[in-house]
Symmetry: C2
Subunit: 342 residues, 2 copies
């Protein structure tokens, strides 16, 4: 189980392999904002053009566009588009406010809309927001790349790719960088119940990028560590507390315990914006319980009786002592996290 391969890879180029064949998650289209409709994935990869405020709002509200950074970029381009198509100032302000409120819990959306509204050249500002996200993801990938051995065998969980951030992705960005640098990673993807982001999104992104990837049920991760010579686990984060405790998709804590048991490093790739210095530890993070239907039905098909009781936490909290390192756009953070995170 020991990693006996060199991790010195600072000189490898970042992109000598072709990029993904998938269309961009979000893009400026001149007279529209283009996006991949995520509700159709993975059965269909469909690029949709949103031209009116109704179409922009519907794309966000229906979860056609999802992932906090991705929604922010979409909203930014959306405002720039509306400014070009709605000449009346009052009508434009009303439309921008509707777009800003399309998904109240998405703080990135309101932040991005406000930033674009305050700019003289709105399209340039939207493009700047997109470029900044790309720069953050690229920096995470560059720092993370050095932690990935040649021919690394990796387990990842949930989805942390382009369809979520609108750029390279976080944990998936590190894997894609390793692939483009010719390190030939093999990735075991947890399907990630209940919402199956692993089998629906991560599998698609990795395969389209040419990465060697296989999907497994979440319960198989331990056995894969034992029998498949896994080198490392890498995941994203919803929120990191000041002490390094990490909230992420349900199943992450399990992976962290299993990695520790098998002597495998457990990495968390997350931008600085995910670190919440106002939260002291994981004990201060409330656990959201989600709809039981996510477990009793799968994409509309019933798999348990409707009367079944369900325990469906949206995420879990991994104690900081199980995290080998955090990979951020400013560098790799090691314990003690109380200091390195500050």
């Amino acid at each position: 189980m020991a990693i006996d391969r060199s991790t010195a890879a600072t000189a490898t180029p970042l992109a000598f392999l072709p990029k993904s064949k998938l269309p961009a998650a979000v893009a400026w289209g001149g007279d529209a904002v283009r996006y991949v409709d995520q509700r159709e994935l993975p059965t269909e990869v469909r690029v949709v053009s949103a031209r009116t405020v109704e179409e922009l709002v519907a794309a966000i509200a229906s979860l056609g566009v999802r992932g906090a950074p991705c929604i922010g970029i979409f909203g930014a381009y959306g405002v720039a588009l509306l400014r070009r198509t709605i000449l009346d100032d009052v009508a434009f302000a009303t439309a921008a406010a509707r777009l800003r409120a399309a998904r109240p819990t998405a703080v990135n959306l309101a932040w991005a809309v406000d930033r674009v509204l305050a700019a003289d050249d709105m399209l340039a500002e939207a493009e700047a927001i997109h470029r900044e996200q790309e720069a953050v993801d690229a920096a995470i990938a560059r720092y993370g790349l050095e932690l990935i051995p040649e021919r690394a065998r990796i387990i990842t969980h949930c989805h942390t790719g382009a369809l979520a951030t609108g750029a390279l992705g976080t944990a998936l960005g590190v894997i894609l960088a390793a692939h483009r640098a010719g390190k030939q990673p093999t990735v075991f993807i947890d399907e990630t119940r209940p919402l199956l982001q692993g089998s629906r999104l991560t599998e698609l992104e990795l395969r389209e990028a040419g990465v060697d990837a296989v999907v497994q049920v979440d319960g198989a991760a331990a056995f894969v560590m034992l029998r498949q010579n896994v080198d490392l686990v890498i995941v994203g984060a919803d929120r990191v507390a000041r002490n390094g405790d990490t909230a992420n998709k349900i199943g992450t804590y399990s992976l962290a315990v299993l990695a520790a048991h098998h002597g495998i490093p457990f990495y968390v790739a997350a931008p600085r914006s995910s670190f919440d210095l106002a939260t002291e530890s994981g004990a201060d993070i409330p656990i959201e319980q989600r709809d039981p239907d996510e477990i009793t039905t799968i994409r509309g098909t019933r798999v348990a009786q409707a009367q079944a009781r369900v325990f469906n936490p949206a995420f879990d909290v991994t104690p900081h002592r199980l995290v080998t390192a955090f990979i951020t756009e400013r560098g790799v953070l090691r314990p003690p996290y109380g200091e390195s995170i500050r």
Copy 2:
């Protein structure tokens, strides 16, 4: 996480609470063999009467009846029924041979059919086979009961109940015995991907029996151990090697590691017939890879692209050092298993 409740429960009665409202998995019906059609579960609980050799064979071949002991009991009653309805000896022998071959991999089926064929009173022999299974399951439940504290909080995986054994069940039998003895267990059921036996079958059996039970995704087990004060894990076994290494549904090994990490006992309930003394250790158990469609589709609904590569082992192997004890019909086996199993 420590268990501070009494485990002394030898004097508690086994059955002062009402039994399950579910119909029997298999039963003699006079002019038919009755069974619960497991393909319809959990959406519909339908009792079917098989009267002809065609209906008996179809019930087994279509997986309407499943679970090795359950198939054996069904086959035993089936032969007894055919002897009553087919007067011609040659025609009867042909029909019995067809029934015996309905599912070639089910060794219990051939064994039970042969045993009934060799008996003078075929129905009495079939009933004896059924009663013997009930006695085995009851003995496992009785020994297991003593390991279950009052108000125990339990995690279980897959399905080990009446629908599989035709009697009380193994791990589920222990839980049901604890419930009937008034110990008021709470059970967290792993849904058990890929085939969801936990949410489809275990949930149904426990709820119909009045047990406090909730379903969770497999990835939630670790977080449930950490935050929900879990007392123990109990599972069944497909096959136990001479040294105690245990093959069981994929996800079992993960649970065992997580239980060890949290200081929680990990019990395996299995009849003597599951102990394979010819297999020295888990390394000698070949791992069957199952159909990728089990992961890329769920009950006919596509959840990953058809081109997705899949790693789908049917079961995993838990090293004996992670098993706190085996619960058998002859008593509770403790380490060192090399001795106790022999």
